[in-house]
């Protein structure tokens, strides 16, 4: 589900891959804010767009909101993807990991970079917003059951063969197993690979140290030192 959020004031500069911490509607079932990645940004109309999949009580309560509801957000949080020196990127996502890829794709396109998306899902119903992504770049898809695109995992797609040849950098967001699988492939190629992690968070601003991931230089906060990490820094 898309949440289109109208800001009462001008939006700050937002990097692709950054996220919001949203206060979910009052409920006995949720307590903490929920980190949700920014799907798209409309600076002209001061709108943030979030893509929310119902997975737990927090996202469920967000998906039950009626039009016109008010949300309390802390944003923009995290480092985001660095798009400054990217020339030939492949944007790989699985499942709800497609969320940040729209704004990332648009940001790259704005830099006159050709954008290629490679998305994987269990079946065709898991592939969302295909037309919108095609407006931004080329879209390749895989499904595990073959109901759309190439059958199999993203790591089995022909575009993966072009890593280090046609692509110099990879941006990945999705289930941890999929990101690790992509990581294993890129390790053998001469490409930079950024992954966006999704750990459980409390504060979102680097204060509580709950969301850490293990890196070559010790525990790092996914909320402030991530969510985007160069795969070389992770202990994968």
């Amino acid at each position: 589900m898309k949440l289109i959020l109208q800001s009462p004031s001008n939006l700050p500069i937002i990097n692709p891959g950054q996220f919001v911490e949203v206060q979910t509607p009052d409920s006995s079932k949720t307590f903490l804010r929920r980190p949700i990645s920014i799907h798209d940004v409309d600076y002209t109309r001061n709108r943030l767009i979030l893509l929310v999949k119902t997975v737990g009580e927090g996202t469920k309560s967000l998906s039950n909101l009626s039009i016109g509801s008010t949300l309390n957000l802390v944003y923009p949080l995290g480092n985001g993807f660095d798009v400054s020196n990217v020339k030939h990127p492949l944007l790989i996502a699985g499942g709800v990991g497609i969320a940040p890829m729209m704004y990332l794709g648009k940001s790259l396109k704005k830099n006159d970079v050709e954008v290629n998306f490679l998305f994987g899902a269990k079946s065709s119903s898991g592939l969302l917003l295909e037309d919108e992504f095609r407006k931004v770049g080329n879209l390749y898809c895989t499904t595990e059951d073959g109901s759309a695109g190439t059958q199999g995992f993203v790591t089995q797609h022909a575009e993966i063969e072009k890593l280090g040849i046609d692509y110099d950098s990879v941006f990945v967001c999705g289930p941890i197993q999929m990101m690790k699988a992509v990581g294993n492939i890129v390790k053998q190629k001469d490409v930079t690979c950024y992954v966006s992690l999704e750990n459980t968070m409390a504060c979102g601003i680097g204060a509580c140290l709950c969301c850490v991931t293990d890196t070559v230089s010790g525990h790092k906060c996914v909320c402030t030192e991530g969510p985007v990490f160069d795969i070389k820094d992770l202990k994968w």
């Binding site: 206060q23 006995s28 079932k29 949720t30 307590f31 903490l32 804010r33 802390v74 750990n199 459980t200 968070m201 409390a202 504060c203 979102g204 601003i205 680097g206 204060a207 509580c208 140290l209 709950c210 969301c211 850490v212 991931t213 293990d214 010790g218 525990h219």
Partner: protein, 298 residues
Amino acid sequence: MNLNGLILKNPVMTASGTFGYGLEYDDFMDVSSLGGIIVKGTTLNPREGNPYPRLAEVKQGMINAVGLQNKGVDYFCKHIYPLVYNYKTNVLVNVSGSCISDYVSTAERINELENIPGIELNISCPNVKEGGMAFGTSCESAQKVVEAVRQVYKKHLMVKLSPNVTNISEIAIAVESAGADSVSLINTVLAMAINSETRRPVLSTITGGLSGPAIKPIALRMVWQVSKAVKIPIVGLGGIMTAADAIEFMLAGASAVEIGTANFIDPAISAKIVAGIINYLERHNISDVNSIIGGLIV
């Protein structure tokens, strides 16, 4: 307000481990408007803390298992202290250790820092294998570590008590007799979360520390008990989310409060609680905030 020598502009402080070094909250509020901030648990040597996952959300609370991740007291003195030097509020350092000599050495280092008017001695962290809570669950060990630190630490010595005890008043009395200037309570309650679908514990450490509104009624009771047992001031904490919560702790006997988990829900909450307390005092025609301390009508 005078907390046994520590002068607070208002009774609202922030709890260690929930407010980073204050710097993380500069975007959301004027940190110097608070009565004090208690910065992250600091140990003699750097600590990596526990593996991920360190967090379980539960009903009206959270369980954490951070395990005192910090870069050690030397790093604090060299790199963090200059950044917090100019806060116009009391910056207290929460000090942890796995043996008495660690506590003492860390306290000695912090004693040298001109703009740190006090430490909060953490004898109640449930998330470390050695030391931590073990010191805070018996009168003898609590007394020993406080006496040792008192020898070297010349400024305000606050001791943070564990709720995971049969009789918190006994521990408070032991700590008072060992020379503590104040006690803060409660630290987190040892707790556990399980995912019934995966049949696994949610935390890497299986158990962790419960905080948030879920523990407020327990914290309030312990503040009330301790206020009957000791003469040194009490700093109350545990699930405070609103100014009314803070007032309740003060009525129960706390001279000041610490805001913890609420900082994660609303990063500007501690400043809002300061404003809410002022509003409460005005509504009730109370001119001196000190007059509500222990003011419960029974």
